[in-house]
């Protein structure tokens, strides 16, 4: 079955630094992959979607890469701020295309 792994449960970084979060997937080849942000007690909020034919996607301070050979996506937040502190979820679709398969997430803490 499809498996999603995010590199670490928690990541602490200093304000202003670049945060890099990793998502690895196994046992399938998704046509795209999405990243979401989740704050405690709230629903996930969509951030970025990257397709298999795209190497990189950017939105303001966010950048996502998608390496279909390595079966890996990297999510970067540049010039990180304390307000970026949240859990970030990697979510490719499952084999049926529409429902999302979420990783456990990486809890990012940006320290001022």
């Amino acid at each position: 079955s499809q498996k999603i792994e995010q590199n670490s449960e928690a990541l602490n970084i200093q304000e202003g630094k670049t945060a890099t979060l990793t998502c690895n997937y196994t046992n399938y080849s998704p046509a795209y992959l999405q990243w979401y942000r989740q704050d405690p007690g709230r629903g996930p909020v969509f951030l970025l979607l990257i397709r298999e034919n795209e190497k990189e996607k950017r939105k303001e301070r966010l950048k996502v890469t998608f390496d279909t050979t390595l079966k890996q996506s990297l999510f970067h937040i540049t010039a990180s701020q304390p307000a970026d502190s949240a859990t970030y979820l990697c979510a490719p679709p499952n084999s049926g295309n529409t429902p999302l398969v979420f990783g456990k997430g990486t809890r990012l803490s940006v320290i001022a």
Binding site: Q34, Q38, G41, R42, G43, P44, V45, F46, L49, L89, P93, N94, G96, N97, T98, P99, L100, V101, F102, G103, K104, G105
Partner: protein, 112 residues
């Protein structure tokens, strides 16, 4: 900005009772979903709904669960006979195509 709404925000029920969780998806969206998140665990897919029928469902979505779109705006999840292990946050989501999903704020279900 349009958003997905869910009611109630918190539902407490006794084991064995029926509960109905309600969602109002974004008005021009065609795909509707229910996910759940047990405390401290990952977001899990339950069911997707398109064109007035279930398009996919997970192993979690057994005979105790049902979904309905009773009118043009509401989308409901019914749990017929709740169990202790049904305690979780339930998120409704909607999308206009196979792309980003917009999540509601969730309903916290507590089964005693």
């Amino acid at each position: 900005e349009p958003e997905v709404t869910q009611t109630p925000s918190h539902q407490v029920t006794q084991m064995g009772q029926e509960v109905i969780l309600r969602c109002v998806p974004i008005s021009n969206h065609l795909y509707f979903y229910w996910y759940r998140q047990i405390l401290g665990q990952k977001v899990e897919f339950l069911v997707s709904f398109y064109n007035n029928e279930i398009s996919e469902k997970s192993e979690i979505f057994d005979d105790q669960f049902s979904v309905e779109r009773p009118d043009g705006s509401n989308f409901t999840l019914k749990i017929r006979s709740t169990k202790l292990e049904d305690s979780a946050m339930y998120f409704c989501a909607s999308s206009d195509r196979h792309n980003e999903q917009f999540f509601g704020p969730g309903t916290r279900l507590t089964v005693l």
